[in-house]
């Protein structure tokens, strides 16, 4: 705990420093310049500091997750207006209240205040989400309700329709909304993601550049917008979920004890030794480094070069992870799918963090298939099963590794989907692009077992209390902006208020997520 208090002192002093020296100029310099300046300052401030490990895991549900059927009111429709609205609005897409898995709704829960007064309606989870329900009911995961992209707060359906409040451009478009979710600056063309900007600052503050062997931004799902930085040191690093195979004959660690002429090719610091084996390795790598006119040869060399680069960093982490004694393959045996594979590799990299040398790490993983225009009921059940078993296994892995308190996982998606179905045939019906939706946050630091943000009114169209954006399809105007949600997560990673301000330039337009009771975003800390 002493570490933590020193951490806080450090942050306070840095805040003060920044306030005195830099903030005045932030208003007139561009965002990029502000970040560049702050990087220099935070790097200067971080000298000599040591920090515990923290990792943030972004799980992006690609295509627009219909979270209307993740978090489901399960009261008696005769007595519970919310359930009644759910059934009438969702129609053929409604999940039977008997099959949904009940969630514990704590006595102190502010997520229903804004739209449902003092009621604490019974809530349940999608029937395929048993693992996730258990995590919630054990206080290990929480839901943040009705989060979405916003340029400014939109108070009501009337305000939405009035045209007086600037809206995120291209609402309901995949490409734009994915980008805006990941940039958190919807009213400007994309230049960087908030994960990338956070990494730019936090890397300078918390990671020791001498020890750091790999980017603070690691993606299991290819290059993504979320981790695009502002041109600083942090370039996203793509890892595949299947790890690496070491090249035979070249051990990473020197072994000088047995007079073997084929001793390790590299010393412990990773330098090639001037020995036969080291020379052979050098010849190999010199050959692979050459550019070839023949395209097949060039592509082959590129693959080998990639393999060698990944082996050096990720391979060392996986080797280190193996010494944890935790059998991740067994833990993920029931999560044998794309998400499980990605989370398993993230668990490996967390277990092998000593080899990566970072105190702060942001991971990105992604699952596709959420664009459920058709056959929502069956598709969504499969998707939720993957999501729930994946998160459960990841929880088990982090617990076994003793890293549960140091990792926060959160979900994000393009948007929620329309509340009303697009067909009357339950076998065919799907839902279309909408706006605010529910997210999941999980981890030791999460104040789990509760609901945050504001659960929307499920009334559609112009019905009283409706927050349906301009239509009668049930497109919820978000109660929580991405900036607010993301700021809480970024703060947990160690960003101070000035850094938060630089990472989320639009944040001052919204209720302070750290203070305001109405924001109801105390899901961490």
């Amino acid at each position: 705990m002493r570490t933590q208090s020193r951490d806080r002192d450090h942050r306070r002093s840095r805040r003060d420093f920044l306030r005195q020296s830099a903030c005045a100029s932030l208003g007139v310099t561009s965002l990029v310049n502000a970040l560049a300046q702050m990087r220099l300052m935070t790097a200067a401030m971080a000298q000599g500091e040591t920090h515990g490990y923290k990792a943030l895991v972004c799980l992006f549900l690609n295509g627009g997750h219909d979270s209307n059927n993740l978090l489901i009111p399960i009261g008696d429709p005769a007595a519970d207006g919310l359930r009644a609205d759910y059934q009438s609005g969702r129609g053929v897409l409604a999940i039977d209240r008997g099959t949904a898995i009940p969630l514990v709704v704590p006595d102190i829960c502010r997520a229903f205040q804004r739209h449902h007064g003092s009621a604490l309606p019974p809530m349940g989870l999608h029937p395929s989400a048993s693992g996730l329900a258990a995590l919630h009911n054990q206080g290990k995961a929480a839901f943040v309700c009705n989060v979405g992209t916003l340029a400014y707060p939109v108070a009501s359906r009337a305000e939405y329709s009035s045209g007086n409040v600037p809206l995120p451009p291209q609402l309901f478009s995949h490409s734009d909304q994915q980008t805006q979710w990941q940039s958190s600056i919807p009213d400007r063309p994309f230049t960087s993601g908030w994960g990338g900007r956070a990494a730019d600052l936090l890397h300078a503050s918390y990671n020791n550049s001498a020890a750091s062997k790999v980017s603070m931004s690691i993606s299991l799902a290819g290059i993504n917008s979320f981790q695009v930085g502002t041109g600083g040191d942090v370039v996203q690093y793509v890892v595949r979920s299947n790890g690496t195979v070491p090249l035979s004959g070249f051990s990473q660690i020197s072994d000088n004890t047995d007079n073997d002429p084929y001793d390790g090719a590299m010393n412990a610091a990773g330098y090639r030794l001037d020995r036969d084996q080291g020379k052979r390795l050098k010849a190999f790598e010199d050959i692979m480094r050459l550019t070839h006119a023949n395209l097949h040869e060039e592509e082959y060399n590129r693959i080998v070069r990639r393999a060698r680069a990944t082996e050096a960093t990720i391979g060392a982490a996986i080797t280190a992870a193996a010494t944890s004694g935790v059998d991740l393959n067994a833990i993920f045996a029931n999560a044998n799918h794309s998400l499980g594979d990605q989370l398993k590799m993230i668990a490996r990299l967390i277990a092998g963090r000593s080899a990566l040398g970072n105190n702060r790490q942001i991971f990105f993983c992604q699952v596709g298939g959420y664009d459920t225009h058709q056959t929502l009921l069956t598709s969504h059940a499969n998707l939720i099963d993957e999501l729930s078993t994946g998160l459960s296994a990841f929880h088990d892995a982090l617990q076994a590794l003793g890293m549960w308190e140091q990792v926060v996982t959160f979900t994000a998606s393009d948007f929620n989907r329309t509340f009303t179905p697009n067909s009357t045939d339950p076998a065919r019906a799907g839902s279309d692009h909408a706006w605010g939706g529910h997210t999941i946050v999980m981890g030791g630091p999460v104040n789990g077992g509760n609901f945050y943000g504001q659960f929307p009114s499920l009334k559609t169209g112009s019905a009283s209390g409706s927050i349906d954006a301009g239509s009668s399809r049930g497109r919820w105007i978000p109660d929580v902006s991405v900036d607010q949600y993301a700021a809480v997560l970024t703060s947990w990673m160690g960003a101070g208020s000035s850094e938060i301000q630089a990472i989320f330039p639009n944040l001052p337009r919204f209720d302070d997520p750290f203070q305001s009771a109405s924001a109801n975003l105390g899901f961490i800390g």
Partner: protein
């Protein structure tokens, strides 16, 4: 000592004289403001931060918005009496040097006023006693005293600085009045602008055009200053300065001013494109002019958006990785000529479940465009930035480099069921004239050796030193005509009797079983099941030692086209049926394509794999409602994968396009449904009765079961048709009428005849075969010639294969060395067989030992004496492949695989790279590594299992083929063992511990290994060049233990170390991995 120094200060002597034309009274010259678009700038700030205020820049005539444009003075020569000052000047301005002993002054004039006539002005000024500070005073002049400064008159067309009334207009009083009217027009919007043509097109050189029109008098020419502003949206592209030229209507280049000539009221500004080879999205710029004209947005585009300029991309939709689906489909993108938008079309069939959504997306899942079901025929897609693709151009680049794919998500496969990457397609309405083949030049010496090795690499499982020597002498005997020698060799190969994989598998299985029947042995196991092990090992025997290399290589090629796979558990458990399937394919190498296709279609292993075995005709309920319809799996694949493919082809393999620019499908879903009815009623023709016996009887039961393992006769006889289960109705497939009441066999004959002679079949099948033998990217001419050979020979496979191997493109060493897309990556199995064959890979297990277990003597006689056999384990992990273990009917790799990036952007196919990833390339190198370095490698000194050793030892020690180092050591010793006593030691004076001799020894080994594995490419390409692979390898090998070379034992052991390093480094190099 005199140290002249310079301080520059600019002072405007008369900033607001009468000639300043400051009509708006803001203290700045209006012509200067218009010239630099600085109307709204305050006089005393410094907008560009260059240290000079607007007022100072106005006096100097420089650009207030460009920090690089400012008064510049330097001292270029300071002698004892004078200093020369060089000034970046503005013609029309006057410059005077002043000097002072101190920056504080007093300043005294050092020169008279110099009028600048050029962009550079030199002034000579006297030096002072010790040192001097200079400054330059800039002032305007008005030579003709008309109230318009000389500088301003020079900015305006037609004004003569020496004539106060340049235009002599009746209605105006001199230049000042004309200038004032112009200033009024600029600043009060008296000019109208119109975009006549918004886009310039590079392809046809057509310019964009703006027309600017003045109102009022036209007596004097009218100068309008304009500027070019980059497009404000960071997602859109802006053209570079070298990508367009601005000209006036006469074609003269204009940079900042357009002149409406006297007597005319309007003029045009033309933006001419500068053509380049880049594929770019529209590049936008804005033109601003006068006080408030614009922005007028113009763009430079590659080509006009007309159909003739469309670019076609095709994605073949296949099951996503790890998804089991019978679905397939095709998607096309027609990219408009200006690359601004595209039309996406798709069709697909046989998905496992309902479609959830369909997306055009990037390989890393950024969604670019959704395709709703009603738009499958043509969804517009605007090429726009998305996610981490922050610019429109980056999205276009992704499409060009093969990173954009079409994915279909279904309810059963939420992460995607079908997907395919788009790549540029070559297609024509009419086939262009095929190009001429390259000349085949005569070769000798090293070049001939290289060519023989290339030929053997294409035609066998890898050249052996013996085969190389054999072909060398054949070419010599043919008078150097290698084509004739190769041709004769091919004929002999096709005539060579083939050993059967089935005979080997059965004998080896029998041995495996019988050896375990001794209750006294610890490994006693009367229920032992040999599984697929011996079928797999038998394939290694055939690949390594088969005398019929070309036929076996053809069988291997066929096995990657007509795929069955032991990934299917039933296939896995029918080792004898699988072996028989292999032998059937091998027989296909000497028959016709038509018969091969028929044999594949009726083989029960294929019947099982693609589910037409026991496929019954449709059944209906009492009301006539369809209950079960025939399985369509084989009906689809025999067309899609085994004969004609999805889209119509010209004879040279290019796509046949319809008038709408889209490819033409070869078949419809109706053809599949109709053809599926032909494949009803097929089942086993024989069976074992009782099932675990060798008693074979005719089968009369359509639903006959799969029988038991190792009594697999039903899997080795062609299926027959059962009339009761066959759909006897009339059918129509691909335009072929099949009348009612014909037998299944008759229908099948008609169908295979029809497919084998379909116009698509020759280019479709020949392209696949060329890819298996020679190159992944045959030229259109090569494919055209082979297709013709296929047709001319009635689909004869050996004629086709001969045409493939002897074509000038295959036989051109120049193509191999110079064409960037030539050749192919050796798939891991072939990479390893070549290694084993080049270096006499062997084991201690003798094939002859199987004679005791029923291996026929005539089979054994087909192999050389003392042939070894191999206990190779599955190599799925190490080599990503084992014979007959492809992941699906689409093989390990598909013929059109183009890795995203460089290859896709170049339209280069590289199928084998589909299984090359960061793990598999390292594992394949490691497999060779363990062969070279571990377990000694020499079969004579390493404990390999003998026949009577415990069976499990076969696997642990014997799973590698061991190579023979002796010939390589002989090469080495041939250089350094000077006294020829068989050892290398200190008696070899002149070589022992002599770097040059050791290097020569290593070189001898290296050149041999290079020749065998790389067809000598290392030496031919790199020779002695430092930093290139051959030198890298040689240097690494020679450097080994160089400090301890003086000991006999060291020298001996180091020889092996050096050879090992050479072997591994060459085998791992791209020159060995890629067959050229």
């Amino acid at each position: 000592m005199r140290v002249p120094q310079l301080i520059l200060t600019l002072l405007s002597a008369t900033p607001l004289g009468v000639s300043a034309m400051d009509l708006d009274g803001d203290g700045l010259c209006d012509v200067w403001q218009a010239r630099w678009h600085a109307l709204a700038l305050p006089p005393d700030s410094d907008a560009d931060g260059d240290g000079f205020s607007q007022r100072e820049e106005a006096a100097a005539g420089t650009d207030p918005l460009d920090g690089a444009s400012r008064p510049l003075v330097s001292v270029i020569d300071a002698g004892s009496a004078t200093a020369r000052l060089r000034i970046v000047a503005q013609p029309g301005k006057r410059y005077r040097a002043e000097s002072a002993a101190s920056p504080a002054g007093p300043w005294i004039p050092s020169s008279t006023d110099h009028a600048a006539t050029d962009a550079l002005l030199e002034i000579v000024a006297p030096t002072l006693a010790t040192h001097a500070f200079y400054r330059v005073r800039i002032s305007d002049a008005d030579s003709d005293g008309d109230g318009v400064s000389d500088w301003a008159e020079r900015q305006l067309a037609g004004f003569d600085p020496l004539n106060a009334d340049s235009f002599a207009l009746p209605e105006a009083s001199g230049d000042a009045a004309v200038a004032a009217a112009m200033i009024e027009a600029w600043n009060h919007n008296a000019i109208s602008a119109e975009i006549v043509t918004a886009a310039a097109y590079e392809k046809d050189g057509s310019p964009a055009q703006i027309r600017l029109t003045r109102s009022g008098d036209t007596g004097a020419p009218f100068t309008l200053f304009f500027k070019v502003v980059p497009d404000a949206d960071p997602r859109r592209a802006t053209p570079g300065r070298d990508e367009y030229q601005l000209r006036d209507a006469s074609g003269a280049v204009v940079t900042h001013a357009l002149v409406i000539p006297a007597g005319q009221s309007s003029a045009s500004l033309m933006m001419h494109p500068v053509a380049d080879a880049l594929i770019e999205v529209p590049e936008y710029l804005d033109i601003r002019a006068g006080g408030s004209i614009g922005p007028l947005s113009l763009s430079v585009r590659d080509a006009a958006p007309v159909q003739a300029n469309q670019r076609l991309f095709i994605a073949y939709l296949l099951p996503a990785a790890g998804v089991s689906s019978a679905g397939s489909g095709l998607a096309t993108i027609r990219l408009s000529g200006d690359n601004d938008s595209a039309i996406v079309s798709l069709w697909f069939s046989n998905l496992n479940s309902a479609v959830n959504s369909t997306q055009v997306q990037t390989a890393d899942d950024a969604i670019l465009q959704s395709i709703p079901p009603f738009a499958y025929n043509g969804q517009a897609w605007r090429i726009r930035a998305s996610q981490s693709y922050a610019t429109d151009q980056s999205v276009l680049d992704a499409l060009i480099d093969g990173s954009v794919e079409l994915s279909i998500f279904t309810e059963a496969n939420v992460a995607g069921e079908l997907s395919g990457a788009f790549s540029p397609a070559v297609g024509f309405v009419d086939m262009p004239e095929p190009i001429e083949p390259p000349a085949v030049t005569s070769l000798s010496g090293t070049a001939l050796d290289r060519e023989i090795v290339r030929f053997l690499t294409q035609a066998t499982f890898g050249p052996t030193p013996a085969d190389l020597a054999d072909l060398r002498s054949r070419v010599a005997a043919a008078g150097g005509d290698r084509i004739a020698a190769f041709s004769a060799w091919i004929d002999e190969q096709f005539a060579t009797p083939s050993p059967d994989l089935l005979d080997y598998t059965m004998a080896a299985d029998r041995q495996d079983i019988e050896i375990r029947l001794d209750p006294a042995k610890s490994y006693y196991n009367p229920d032992h099941d040999p599984g697929q092990g011996n079928r797999r090992r038998g394939w290694w025997l055939l690949a390594r030692h088969g005398p019929d290399q070309l036929k076996q290589r053809a069988a291997f090629a066929f096995s990657e086209i007509f795929v069955i796979s032991i990934q299917d558990t039933l296939i896995e458990s029918r080792a004898h049926g699988s072996a028989h399937y292999h032998d059937m394919l091998r027989n296909g190498a000497t028959g016709t394509f038509r018969d091969l296709l028929r044999n594949v279609a009726t083989h029960p292993m294929m019947g099982w794999y693609l589910s037409h075995l026991r496929n019954a005709k449709a059944t209906y309920d009492a009301q006539g409602n369809l209950l079960v319809s025939p399985d369509e799996n084989f009906a689809r694949e025999i067309m899609q994968l085994f004969s004609i493919g999805l889209v119509q082809l010209h004879n040279d393999g290019s796509l046949k396009l319809g008038s709408d620019g889209l490819p033409l499908p070869t078949y419809t879903q109706t053809d599949i449904t109709e053809l599926s009815r032909v494949f009803t009623g097929w089942s086993f023709s024989v069976y074992n009765n009782p099932s675990a016996s060798t008693n074979v009887v005719a089968n009369t039961l359509f639903s006959r079961n799969n029988g038991s393992e190792r009594f697999e006769d039903r899997w080795m006889q062609p299926m027959r048709n059962f009339a009761d289960s066959h759909d006897t109705g009339a059918k129509q497939v691909l335009g072929l009428q099949l009348p009612a009441n014909r037998s299944g066999e008759q229908e099948l004959d008609a169908i295979v005849d029809h497919l084998a002679t379909h116009p698509n079949t020759a280019p479709f099948i020949c392209r696949r075969l060329i890819q298996r033998f020679v190159t992944a990217n045959p030229s259109a001419g090569y494919l055209h010639r082979v297709s013709n050979a296929f047709r001319d020979a009635g689909g004869s496979m050996n004629a086709t294969i001969k045409a493939i191997l002897l074509d000038p493109e295959a036989r051109s060493l120049e193509s191999a060395d110079a064409v960037a897309s030539f050749g192919k990556v050796r798939e891991p199995l072939l990479r390893y067989t070549a290694f084993a064959r080049a270096f006499n890979g062997t084991s201690k297990l003798k094939l002859a030992d199987l004679s005791a277990y029923g291996y026929p003597a005539d089979e054994l006689a087909k192999f050389p004496e003392n042939t070894a056999r191999f206990r190779m384990q599955s190599t799925d992990t190490q080599l990503s492949q084992t014979h007959l273990s492809a992941p699906s009917v689409f093989n390990w790799f598909v013929p059109d695989h183009k890795p995203a990036g460089m290859l896709a952007a170049n339209g280069t196919t590289s199928p084998e790279l589909q299984i090359a990833n960061e793990n598999s390339v390292i594992r394949a190198s490691n497999f060779v590594y363990s062969d070279i370095y571990e377990s000694g490698g020499n079969p004579n000194t390493t404990a390999l299992p003998n026949q009577n050793e415990e069976p499990w030892l076969y696997g642990s020690n014997g799973d590698h083929i061991r190579i023979d180092f002796a010939p390589l050591e002989a090469l080495y010793l041939g250089v350094v063992d000077l006294n020829r006593d068989g050892v290398f030691n200190n008696l070899d004076v002149g070589a022992f511990n002599q770097q040059a001799a050791l290097r020569a020894a290593c070189e001898a080994v290296l050149d041999h290994v290079d020749l065998m594995l790389c067809a000598g490419a290392l030496k031919a390409r790199y020779a002695e060049t430092p930093g290139k692979p051959r030198r890298n390898i040689l240097d690494a090998a020679v450097s080994i233990r160089s400090s301890n070379n003086s000991s006999n034992t060291q020298q001996a052991s180091v020889m092996r170390d050096r050879i090992e390093d050479i072997l591994w480094l060459v085998a791992s190099s791209p020159d060995a991995v890629v067959q050229k």
